[in-house]
């Protein structure tokens, strides 16, 4: 049990971040705090992918010249994959980071629009002001 918990500590850490992010998005009333939660949430998934590609004792995925020589000379049939870290999750996460930045940018644009129109970023206050506007509209 202890081994299970300690052996997967990176995943527990990711899980904790994921939950903190979700809590921030769902429970916080301030729109900017929601966005902070959203960023934490996205980062937790990025860390999850990176953690999955970790290999102890392995190195960057640039082929060693010695290895290539050996394959050419027919000494081994394939490159030893255990020596190299899998680069694919990192590449995927580069894309995900870009997507995350774009999402945050659009979200801040929306927050600025909301603040300009309603002069508040508190969700409760915002809903109250929207409702008030509705009432004054229907009275006209």
């Amino acid at each position: 049990m202890v081994d299970f918990i300690l052996g997967h500590y990176a995943y527990w850490f990711t899980l904790a971040l994921l939950v903190i992010g979700l809590y921030g998005m769902m429970m916080k009333k301030n729109l900017v705090k929601k966005l902070i939660g959203m960023t934490i949430f996205q980062v937790s998934i990025i860390i999850f992918f990176i953690a999955s590609s970790v290999k102890w004792g392995a190195t960057v995925p640039i082929l060693d010249h010695g290895d290539i020589e050996k394959v050419h000379l027919g000494m081994t049939s394939a490159i030893e994959t255990a020596k190299y870290i899998n680069p694919l999750p990192h590449t995927l996460m580069l894309t995900a980071i870009v997507v995350g930045v774009a999402t945050t940018g659009v979200a801040f644009g929306l927050v600025i629009m909301i603040y300009k129109r309603y002069k508040t970023l508190n969700e409760t206050e915002l809903l109250m002001r929207m409702k008030k506007e509705d009432d004054s509209d229907s009275n006209q």
Binding site: L22, M25, L31, K34, M38, F41, Q42, I45, F48, F49, S52, L88, P89, L92, T95, A96, V99, A102, T103, V106, A107, G109, L110, V111, M113, I114, R117, Y118, L126, M130, E133
Partner: protein, 502 residues
Amino acid sequence: MTAILTNNSPVLIPLLFLTFGMIIPLVAWKRNNLAWPALMLASLASVAIGVFNVFKVINKGPVHYYLGNWVPPIGIEYVLDHLAAFVMLVINSVAFLVLIHAWKIVPRELPEKEPAYYAAISLMMAGFNGIVITGDLFNLYVFLEISSLSLYGLIAIGEKKSPVAAFRYLIMGTIAASFYLLGVGFIYITTGSLNMADVKAILPSIMDQPTALMALALMVLGMGIKMALFPLHGWLPDAYTYAPSTSSAIIAPTGTKVAAYALLRVLFFVFGVSFVTKTIPMATVLTWLAAIGIIYGSIMAIAQKELKRMLAYSSVAQVGYIGLGIGLANPLALVGAVLHVLNHAFMKACLFLVAGNFRFKLGHSNIFKLNHSIRKKMPWTMAAFTVAALSMVGLPPMAGFFSKWYLALGTLKDSNWHFLVVILISSLLNAVYFFRIIEKVYMKPINSNPAEKEMSVEPTRDEVASSMLIPTLILAAGLIVVGLLNAFIVKGILNFIIPAGM
């Protein structure tokens, strides 16, 4: 030249819209009115390529296209099969018709913002087409986010409240996409592959692992939010109501359908039919949620006083039909679901265009302010509305009847009688919320009250411009045509979409 185009036809549509997403702001830099023709060019080309793709698939069978000639699972694969070609043609042709309608209404609703607006539509269509055609799980995520980011912008550009609706959608949409991405991560860790066909070949050997189950749950949750499956539909009504008329008319027929399509792909073409029905009853859960959503959406639609909001809730119900067809997991129900993607795209586009026409001429689309004068003022718009409404209710020979017919047959196949009851009840509820408008407009004789007769002036014909009217009428006529031709569509295309093992 032609050989290059025909060989690369699967990738052309997303590429086209992606390119035009960047070209439109440039050509319209100084002159705003150039943005619309540029997008129309792209849209027309996409319809043409879509038609070509459909015939190519019917004649030669599914096409597997390797991006950059990298053979999967190393490279990204685009799969153009019957289902993908069909859905692509549907969303592109509906978008084309809505964009004709946009010409007059966008400058009125969004003055000076046309270049950015049309560029965002182009990017959104690139994302949707990419989702439909890709055969790679991570590539699907990227296209999902491309389309979502443009969607947030298209919604936020609308009325005063629209940024709030868009912000709420952004939070929900990011959770959905992130859950999907997490599911992809689980699949990648267990199978070491991201190619859909490859994953499907590997998954049966590791089916009993909790990782695979978790991946399925996360991906269904993510797509469920995107397609507004009950109870994850919270973002939809506000977003559709406060968005500009063109945005709602283009998002409602395409957005949720594409997400439903992605769900179908993930369930049947990645995890496989036996996995989602026997190993873990995910399909059954989906069916029940969809059934509750159908009833809930229809009842909420009755309670609305704003036409666009009513249509939004009706969308929740209609997406439920598609979810029901997917969840029942038998060939007839699946044909019904995919046929409903087509029918609902036409019906919702037509109804939202009618709402746009009302807003253009009357300045509002409040149901309680609609009265009998509209039948004189806008006879053609009302005719289109009536056809679409009858189709929503499911009267033959309108298209809506036939998809419901296939769904009903699908429910009977595994003796799921209770879902047949759901379909029947919801048809009646549909009738309630559409007929109250038809009754308001048509059933009252003009000036029956003599006192009123002297007070009021005879309403004169005040129909919208033909560039707005014609797309609305084409969509309405399309509903009848699709209804009459449904046997050809089912025989020619939809019979080939049934996944293995169903």
